[in-house]
């Protein structure tokens, strides 16, 4: 039976296409508009580390990380070190998590969000290109534009605020690894959260 493996390996060499962002592969490019009307393109950010955070302020899992201050603390610390942090809202118009620009800015201020910008992906194209499943689904893109981390923000999949203190934050660990020129130890986890409210 051993050679059947060789045969099937040989035949499977063709492989297939992936819709999702793959660890170690180039991150799908995007051009999105933020709450102040400014457009951001990923390809303009070569040489910078980029964090993508799928956001829905009204999702209980997101509330856990904003309500505990966990997300804002990480945003502040990382943007101060030169990381670009985009929170992407893929909620369709009328669905939970979608706010018009003015309301979104007010909500950001209320939540004390420290991200570089909140980007609109109302038609869900970028979310689907990345395979963003849930809020918060996190991606880290390295300085070469390759996906370095994809998955959950931490290892405690719950909505309990008290779990935040006990959790291991995967995004922080991935960013630390990149800064130290180490291989990202945990490059992929299963994201947890509410489903992204695609149209």
């Amino acid at each position: 039976m051993r050679f059947s493996i060789l045969v099937s390996l040989f035949l499977a060499a063709a492989g297939s296409a992936f819709a999702d962002a793959q660890i170690g592969k180039a991150a799908p490019d995007f051009k999105l508009t933020d709450t102040n009307g400014k457009t951001h393109e990923l390809k303009d950010l070569k040489g910078k580390t980029v964090v993508l955070e799928w956001l829905n302020f009204d999702c209980p899992f997101v509330k856990k990380h904003y309500g505990s201050g966990n997300m804002q603390k990480l945003q502040a610390a990382e943007t101060a070190k030169g990381v670009v942090w985009f929170s992407i809202v893929s909620s369709a118009k009328g669905k939970q998590g979608y706010f018009e620009p003015k309301a979104m800015n007010e909500r950001q201020a209320k939540e004390k969000g420290m991200q570089t910008a909140i980007l609109y992906d109302t038609d869900g194209k970028v979310g689907k290109a990345y395979g963003a499943k849930s809020t918060p689904h996190m991606f880290v893109i390295d300085k070469d534009g390759k996906v370095a981390y994809s998955g959950a923000i931490d290892d405690k999949d719950s909505t309990d605020l008290e779990d935040v203190a006990k959790a291991k934050n995967y995004v922080r660990a991935a960013l630390d690894d990149l800064r130290a020129n180490r291989k990202v130890a945990t490059a992929e986890t299963k994201p947890y959260g509410c489903g992204v409210k695609y149209q």
């Binding site: 045969v7 099937s8 605020l161």
Partner: protein, 708 residues
């Protein structure tokens, strides 16, 4: 930190409830802590559970929630303490699509059961309180977390009084427990390709027999882990004989390790799937264990070439299997007979012989495929499951033996080697030898051949015929090679008196074959069947005597032919009675296989699952009286003292599945490991879901090490 706590409390206040009772109502669902009985007994087990009744459109989650969501989590305790609680169990979920995302969960009411072992020191007449600290997430468009502590107070009664306290939840809880997916008992097979090849899950069994197209659409595999399978993956099930194959596409070539999940066939029918993927194999790559095992589910594109190779090698090896020996002797004689002929004639003989093998394989394939498409469970060697066919075969071999002894000769010269039909020209004889070779070969299956056959019979007719043709080519190949090598015929001595001696000597293997066929009839139709066969042989002798002996020349020709006609009719009648006898034997209830004797136990799906449930290593021997390879293994391996001791030991249960007569349950069990022929030897280890398929040629050491 305290400001966060305040915030946390205000956040939770809207969604969480702290109930002193067993029930809590939220805007989205009610949740109740329930127990199997309305009482508890000291040291006695029962089921408890949390019962969700979500409002319309809201859903809660399975253990793997899919693209988003969260399964409920609960911590059970009791007052007084000392209870043991099992984990929360998850009933078979539904697929809940939401836009491009897919969740696994429950849109209707769902009861998550957990096993409760009550403390032994409970006092009858007092109360015990079961409590659960429960957290859950419930979603519709939005998601809302929930949290509650539920308490259930139960009076303590004697264990004997417990069943009398059945209540409103007894039935719901029992049916919830019953709907927890059952192990598949070896009827589910998983084939892993490499890279991002789809995982193929095949199921064989009555639950999926003749499954309709509409029901095939609802077949779904719920993975417990990631395995590179997206929750939104489009799984496609296609019907195969006796079941279906489900293709589960993979997005990523992740290493798998342990592959677990639930295969849902219908609302009430689902099975646990659990496979350990050998990390020694290439990442993410696994075929089913065993040297010749392969999956019937393998797509033709990836394994047809391999299966054709298997078929060819299997056909070649088939020449070395014991059942081919009587025919081999005839063939050798035929080759010897050609020693004087010119090279061209020898080549034509070789080609005609091959044609004979091919044509009889095609006939066999046509019969097998048409019978299977009409829904009959048949396999390789199926014709030997019919005592009439066995009788005809025995009569044929017996007549050929008499021919070799020179009792009768058709035509003036003894030319070909294929018995009576081998008259005059000799080419017809070569063709018939080819046919005979195929007929004699069917009771045997050789290494490699089993996989190829099992594969062939799950494929469309064209592929099946192709595989069988290549198998036929492998079988005929040595003779063909021999007839095409000029050097080969030079090895043979000149024709002479030695040929007459050889001819008569070679009659004896044929007689031995008749004895074996008689034993097959004995197991199918009893002692009466053997008497019937012997009667047929007497008629064959009379016919031969009439045709061949010079003494009968004194009988007038008309009388001779009339007598011959009577004899033939009587012989046919006697053969027909063999079929009747088997029916009577079956009707008399003596269905227990004569092959089953200590240390063997009769195989049945129930016996197998019982032994596995008891944590035994189970060895299953699929055999048949007419299976020569099986007989060889029996004598050389199973009868050995060390093997008998292993089978008789505490740890091992040896089950014997007798396929001498057709048996749909056994055919289905064979199909579940991708086979359609015997012998097949399976070893089930406790805890492993899939059996290991052992090679068809066993060795004592090999078998013992597998059982260890």
């Amino acid at each position: 930190m305290s400001i966060f706590r305040v915030f946390a409390f205000s956040l939770l206040a809207s969604t969480a409830a702290f109930a002193e009772s067993a029930t809590v109502d939220t805007p989205h669902t009610s949740v109740e802590l329930v127990s199997e009985y309305e009482a508890a007994a000291p040291g006695t087990d029962q089921w408890v559970g949390v019962y969700f009744k979500p409002r319309d459109g809201w859903h809660v989650y399975w253990k793997n929630p899919g693209d988003s969501g969260l399964p409920p989590r609960g911590e059970f305790s009791s007052t007084p303490g000392g209870s043991k609680f099992g984990p929360i169990e998850f009933p078979t979920p539904d697929r809940i699509p939401y836009g491009p995302l897919v969740n696994y969960g429950y849109e209707g009411s769902v009861l998550y059961p957990a096993k409760w072992s009550a403390p032994a020191d409970l006092k009858v007449g007092e109360n015990v309180v079961v409590a659960v600290n429960l957290k859950w997430l419930i979603c519709k468009e939005e998601c809302v977390p929930g949290k509650a502590t539920l308490n259930l107070k139960l009076p303590v009664v004697e264990a004997s009084a417990l069943p009398k306290t059945s209540g409103t939840h007894t039935k719901i809880l029992k049916s919830a427990v019953a709907s927890l997916s059952r192990p598949s008992e070896g009827r589910v097979r998983v084939a892993f390709g490499s890279g991002t090849d789809p995982i193929e899950i095949s199921f064989q069994g009555t639950e999926a027999k003749g499954i309709s197209k509409g029901r095939l659409k609802s077949v779904f595999f719920f993975p417990e882990g990631e395995y590179g399978i997206g929750a939104d993956a489009k799984q496609v099930a296609t019907a195969v004989p006796g079941g279906f194959t489900l293709k589960v596409p993979r997005k990523e070539a992740k290493p798998i390790g342990e592959f677990r999940g639930v295969l849902k066939i219908a609302d009430e029918t689902s099975f646990l799937v659990s496979e350990i993927v050998d990390p020694k194999l290439v990442q993410g790559t696994k075929t089913v264990a065993g040297t010749t095992g392969t999956s019937p589910a393998s797509p033709p594109s990836t394994s047809l070439g391999l299966m054709l190779l298997f078929a060819f090698v299997g056909g070649l090896i088939l020449n070395l299997m014991p059942c081919i020996l009587p025919v081999l002797s005839i063939k050798v004689l035929g080759l010897a007979n050609q020693s004087g002929a010119n090279a061209r004639a020898v080549r034509v003989h070789g080609i005609v012989f091959t044609a004979g093998v091919f044509v009889s394989f095609w006939i066999l394939a046509a019969v097998l495929l048409s019978l299977r498409s009409s829904g009959q469970a048949l396999g390789w060697g199926f014709q030997l499951q019919n005592p009439i066919f066995v009788g005809v075969l025995a009569a044929l071999f017996y007549g050929m033996a008499l021919n070799l002894f020179g009792v009768f000769e058709i035509g003036d010269r003894w030319v070909g080697a294929g018995g009576s039909l081998a008259a005059k020209e000799g080419y017809g004889g070569s063709f018939f030898t080819g046919v005979l070779t195929t007929v004699a070969a069917t009771p045997c299956s050789a290494p490699f051949m089993g996989s190829a056959l099992g594969f062939a019979l799950t494929q469309p007719p064209f592929v099946a015929v192709l595989v069988l043709t290549v198998l036929a080519f492998g079988l005929a190949f040595p003779y063909l090679l021999f007839s095409f090598l000029p050097a080969a015929s030079r090895v043979l001595p000149r024709p002479g008196a030695w040929m007459k001696v050889l001819k008569e000597v070679l009659a004896f293997p044929l007689l031995a074959t008749v004895v074996w066929l008689a034993s097959v009839i004995g197991s199918q139709a009893g002692a009466d069947g053997i008497v019937g066969l012997l009667t047929v042989l007497v008629f064959v002798t009379i016919a031969v005597w009439l045709l061949g002996k010079p003494t009968t020349r004194t009988i007038p020709t008309v009388a001779k032919w009339a007598l011959l006609a009577v004899v033939v009719v009587l012989a046919i009648g006697a053969l027909g009675s063999l079929g009747m006898m088997r029916k009577e034997m079956k009707a008399a209830g003596s269905t227990k296989s004569p092959l089953v004797h200590a240390p063997w136990q009769e195989w049945s799906p129930e016996a197998q699952s019982k032994a596995l449930a008891a944590g035994k290593t189970v060895f299953v021997n699929f055999t048949a009286e007419w299976c020569v390879t099986c007989k060889v293994n029996e004598t050389v391996v199973f009868e050995r003292e060390s093997v008998r001791q292993a089978f008789a030991g505490e740890r091992v249960v040896a089950l014997l599945a007798d396929w001498t007569n057709s048996d749909p349950a056994i055919t289905a069990a064979l199909a579940s490991v991708g086979r359609n022929s015997v012998p097949v030897y399976l070893v089930y280890k406790p805890g492993a879901a899939a059996p290991k398929v052992l090679p068809q040629i066993l060795t004592v050491d090999g078998l013992l090490s597998e059982l260890r």
